[in-house]
Subunit: 340 residues, 2 copies
């Protein structure tokens, strides 16, 4: 019985005949659906081996009230990076593709952009310029594409984009190229009483646009980077206007533990990441006095995904030194997206 | 059977004999305890009348899946101001008393304070100076008493303070002068699937220091004002150092809806406040397309609490104009703290 949030998201629910029959009886299916993860074999897309076993062993001990490592339910906080941890970040992080698409979409209202950097580079696909983009130019792109509208208008723009935007490498909708082993890990932890959070360098509204469907994670459990907003009455109605200013701290590196403490007020017991910007979040979780699990996703599968270590050197070295758990996508993931 | 979070907090659990017997059977009591609020009559400390009825009617319709006003469980977000809404703010807000106590406690390490404002005024109890305190001087007090230490050290300071600090008017421990009708309202809403948040102008760490015990609200559901923190490795361990800078926006007025959107990402359906700094939070909740409940606590009980309207004029006028629900402490609260 292959029934998980990931499968639901992909619209490829494969049901055992008995479930199909039960579906006819509305309420029975309702009960089955809400109990979803409990029916799936735990972490079935993970290969048997030390990584899967380390996760299962950790969860077993901290949820067993007779074990000295037992952790009360309310303290079971698990934080996950997003790009490269829960879904692919190559060839481009989804939000960068969204930014490029927005520039193309808005270009007709801005004829001056054809001669103005960084817009010119985006419109011409000048990779060389973009790969060396300055912070100031990046902020110009962000301002032009992510700000100036109300929060509600921006949410609608994101929703519309996710409905049709496809990743150029896989040809799949962005929301359909989450890692199946990771969405299974999320469901599994949720079923064991963990409160799962996404702690992303990306924008929080962007990730909130699909996190409930794809990860079973509600908006209030998304911590990300963001811009400042301004409260304004508009025709007697309060609206929040997105301004062209980053709200500090950016949710990368030290920003991750700082925002976790600010918003959650607890040190996580599980932290999962894949790159150097996740290092402080992993170290912060390791400082928990309770038993903690630090999991690093290693992009070593050149055939089914993309193999790269750039930007992950420091965290990989620290993971090895501290004996954190490392998941090899090549060896530990039976499938990447659920169809291979 | 008088069993609620408020009663637990006060350490005055009065149990029906059958419950006492069940307590001997550990697990059975465990079951009873976790189902606590369901055994208490709903809002029993609220007088019969239009206010109590408005709350019950609202909750009934939005939790009834056959009602057109039905609200899905995940969207049932209820936000509560703290000072003057969930507990007394007169004669002094608890955190101001905490600040004064800290100045006295630290004075021996700062002999210069006896000659330096604003410390001199605090040490001498100079109410006139303090009532006209400048923003700059207030920040000096905040810095000296709330910053410079690690977040963990500050949490310990708060915990120690709450263990012994008493409100001068009632002589009660601060954590024992929460409003019983309001803690009942919190329990009631929680039992109906609402996610309850405190959205306070006070410091988030300060309120997190007692919110689980007093309100049944975990740290991740406390939104408050705060200072910036710095991430620093100390003897190889990551620590968060509290800095002498306010993290914008301060959680008052427009700051409340801004922080709600930033951290929760949903517009609340219930908002409860008592003063002008809650006005925008109430208006923001009123802008929800779903049916919403705006509740204003009116301090009109000179006998059992303190009667005052200063600082509440604007919100009171708006509440009357928009027909929001107004709870009179004098008429709608059968008891204030649970013992009168």
């Amino acid at each position: 019985l292959n029934y998980s949030i990931a499968a639901k998201e992909r619209g490829t629910i494969t049901m055992h005949p008995i479930t199909s029959t039960l579906r006819l009886i509305g309420i029975a299916f309702g009960l089955l659906a809400s109990a979803g993860p409990a029916f799936a074999a735990d972490l079935e897309s993970w290969s048997e081996g030390p990584t899967r076993q380390a996760i299962l062993d950790y969860v077993k001990k901290v949820t067993d009230s007779n074990d000295p490592a037992f952790i009360q339910k309310e303290a079971r906080v698990a934080v996950f990076d997003n790009d490269g941890t829960l879904w692919s970040e190559k060839p481009l992080p989804a939000q960068l593709q969204f930014t490029i698409d927005r520039v193309h979409q808005l270009a007709s209202q801005h004829p001056e952009w054809s001669k103005q950097q960084p817009f010119k580079a985006v419109l011409k696909g000048d990779q060389r310029y973009l790969s060396q983009i300055t912070e100031q130019d990046a902020l110009k792109l962000l301002s032009a594409t992510h700000t100036g509208m109300t929060q509600a208008e921006f949410q609608k723009i994101i929703e519309d984009w996710f409905r049709q935007a496809k990743d150029s490498r896989t040809g799949r909708l962005y929301t359909h190229r989450t890692y199946q082993p990771m969405t299974e890990l999320l469901s599994y932890l949720q079923s064991k009483g963990f409160k799962t959070y996404v702690v992303t360098g990306g924008g929080r509204e962007f990730v909130r646009g699909f996190s409930q469907r794809a990860y079973g994670i509600p908006p209030e459990q998304i911590i990300g980077s963001s811009v400042r907003m301004k409260y304004k009455e508009r025709e007697g109605k309060p609206t929040l206007i997105r301004e062209a200013k980053i709200a500090p701290p950016i949710n990368l590196n030290e920003g991750k533990p700082l925002n976790i403490e600010h918003e959650i007020g607890r040190i996580p017991v599980i932290a999962v990441g894949n790159s150097d910007v996740d290092l402080q979040m992993l170290e912060y979780s390791a400082s928990n006095l309770q038993s903690s699990l630090k999991l690093l996703i290693s992009h070593d599968d050149a055939v089914r995904e993309v193999a790269y270590t750039e930007g992950t050197e420091k965290v990989l070295a620290e993971a090895k030194k501290q004996h954190w758990t490392i998941a090899s996508m090549k060896n530990d993931f039976k499938t990447i997206y659920g169809t291979d």
